[in-house]
């Protein structure tokens, strides 16, 4: 009853092609944004910002990036961690080399640099596919990871090999560096993610998105009916890497503040982002958010659960149990709903449509 499109007539093409054609969806998105902008900054405390909200936003960005590549264009990549790392290091280089550079511009340029490198590592996709491609993207992961520790240019030749975000202001408010207010960082991250998610949503509804989906569903057939596999696949890699690069820059500047090359952007990050995409739902922007929320929240909950129930445990024991439960949950989740959280959301919507009179 509440969620019903009956009676909503579209009288123009624009109305029919709107991004959220149903009025309830529009209100829902608006409400979520309003709560995120106006309520959350006053309610949440610093711990919540730093451990849950900001990582969630950063990884949503990365998950959207990987989802564009995997869910829409069908190319499996395990190099996300390295691409995020590249974005982080490029933003660091840009911010330290040009102190007057606007923070947002630095993020975008870091994303562009990552896109170029992502394009290079996308070239093998023209020849190989499936798991062969996945393994070959690990080449990107390890090669870039090695460069982050061995090529001193990346971390300005400092002997420790770590990078620290320099303090940068925008509109007179301190945004980066550990001294900045977490709420401000959160708002910056939120704005970036909102804008980029909107962009992603629009990309996948456009000609580019449709060509990606054609390539994903069957690349030979798509080629025969006139899609160009080279441009399409490389475009997917470039756009996806751009998102991952921006996410990496955000991870460094808004979340971590300091990072050490291969450690912070290792293969575990790649797997985590992949989990987010799969658990959230392949080929769904909303799913990227849901998956990111799930994967960032589960470890936090697991870490805090023993104290909540008053169980004392040795730290390393707890760490091992955490890893084990995390793995078990993932397998469980894949069994229960292999199409991801987005699919659950869809089922809920169908139920809502006829609720409370199902007959």
């Amino acid at each position: 009853m509440l969620y019903r499109e009956a009676g909503q007539f579209k009288t123009s093409y624009a109305g029919d092609q709107a991004i959220f054609p149903i009025i309830q969806d529009r209100w829902f998105v608006l409400a979520v944004l309003l709560v995120a902008y106006l309520v959350v900054p006053f309610v949440a405390n610093d711990y919540f910002f730093e451990v849950v909200l900001i990582p969630f936003l950063v990884f949503s960005m990365a998950a959207i990036g990987l989802n564009l590549l995997l869910g829409y264009a069908g190319q499996l990549s395990l190099g996300t961690g390295a691409f995020m790392g590249l974005g982080a290091f490029m933003s660091y280089k840009l911010l330290t080399t040009f102190p007057d550079l606007n923070l947002i511009v630095a993020f975008l340029l870091a994303g562009l640099a990552t896109a170029v490198v992502g394009l290079l590592f996308g070239i093998p996709s023209l020849r190989i596919k499936g798991f062969y491609l996945a393994v070959s993207t690990l080449a990107a992961q390890f090669l870039l990871g090695w460069m982050f520790t061995k090529v001193e240019w990346f971390y300005n030749y400092n002997p420790s090999g770590t990078i620290l975000t320099p303090p940068r202001e925008m509109f007179g408010v301190l945004i980066t560096s550990p001294k900045a207010d977490p709420a401000v960082k959160y708002l910056v991250a939120l704005t970036l993610v909102a804008v980029f998610a909107l962009a992603a949503k629009n990309i996948v509804r456009s000609r580019i998105g449709r060509s990606w989906m054609a390539i994903r569903d069957m690349d030979i057939a798509a080629e025969i009916i006139g899609f160009r596999p080279m441009q399409t696949k490389l475009m997917a890699f470039a756009v996806s890497s751009f998102y991952c690069g921006v996410a990496g820059a955000m991870l460094l500047c808004l979340d971590l503040d300091a990072a050490e090359g291969a450690e912070a952007f290792g293969i575990n990050i790649s797997f985590n982002v992949l989990f987010m995409v799969i658990i959230g739902g392949l080929g769904s922007i909303l799913g990227s958010f849901l998956g990111a929320a799930f994967i960032t929240l589960v470890p936090v909950v697991l870490t805090n659960a023993p104290q909540m129930f008053g169980i004392a445990m040795a730290t390393d024991m707890q760490k091992h149990l955490e890893v084990m439960i995390f793995g078990g949950l993932i397998v469980y989740f894949l069994i229960v709903e292999p199409h991801g959280l987005a699919r659950l959301w869809q089922i809920a919507k169908e139920k809502l449509r006829i609720w409370p009179f199902p007959y």
């Binding site: 995997l70 499996l76 093998p124 020849r127 190989i128 499936g130 798991f131 062969y132 996945a134 393994v135 070959s136 690990l138 080449a139 390890f142 090669l143 990871g145 090695w146 520790t149 061995k150 090529v151 069957m218 030979i220 057939a221 025969i224 293969i267 797997f271 992949l274 989990f275 799969i278 392949l282 390393d316 024991m317 091992h320 149990l321 955490e322 890893v323 084990m324 439960i325 995390f326 793995g327 078990g328 949950l329 993932i330 397998v331 894949l334 069994i335 292999p338």
Partner: protein, 311 residues
Amino acid sequence: MEMLHAFFVAPFQEMWEFPLFLAEVVINGLLTGVMYSLVALGFVLIFKASGVFNFAQGVMVLFAALTLVGLMEKGVPVWLALILTMVVMVALAFAVERFMLRPLVNQEHIILFMATIGLTYFLEGFGETLWGSNVKPLDVGIPSASFDFHGLLLNEFDLFAAGIGAALVAGLAIFFHKTPVGRALRAVADDHQAAMSVGIPLRTIWIIVWSVAGIVAMVAGIMWGAKSGVQFSLSLIALKALPVLILGGFTSVPGAIIGGLIIGVGEKVAEIYWGPLVGGAIENWFAYVLALVFLFFRPQGLFGERIIERV
């Protein structure tokens, strides 16, 4: 010019001038390659029979080694510990089939792949919860003295490993080609549905293949554990086995062996002759880049089945 000389001339001059050293490097690489092949074998077995890209193979190696060491620390004699570990690996195969593969049957490959990554985390946590996470030495009585062979310094342990690898491959070859079970396995690998329609029980086959992969993992775990101690980093050699796989082809047992040898030699030679020029520690990615270059020429790997696609 200086740079080009350092990259393209000097290393070869060095190889020419000290052939004995080169031989030693190559032999070392071959023997490391055997160890990679042992891990890659497990991947190939499972991929062939069930189409599952089993990322958990590396952690199965670790898990087997941890179990073996844990049992031996409890005072169990070696032979009994070996048998018990084998039993544990078979039990693991049963559990994986029952709780993971059966509910996920007919899902897309990527879902199964992700499930094996989940299994990786699970086993990693489980093994370390049970047996602790500190480095443990593993001594099952493999000789490890070095000796001189016509001026080449060789290690008995490495030769032993090579022997084990050869025996394992020979055993698997006989198993696959001469026994009824092996024939059924190959049938399943060829075509699931056709195999089922002639009455081959798919679930039993999966259990068998995961058990065999578990036992191969145990052998690999013993060899790696005896070489460098049983520790968490053992599970990371899975990442070293992946380029071996794409080089050799996901579906080929000989491919896994030859791929392993090529990667082993290539990596050692590159590290020794070209590594210092770019700052060292290139072993981590060299294998991948080598495999990647290879794939440009043969997208299905050296011995993989030709990929034929139809609309």
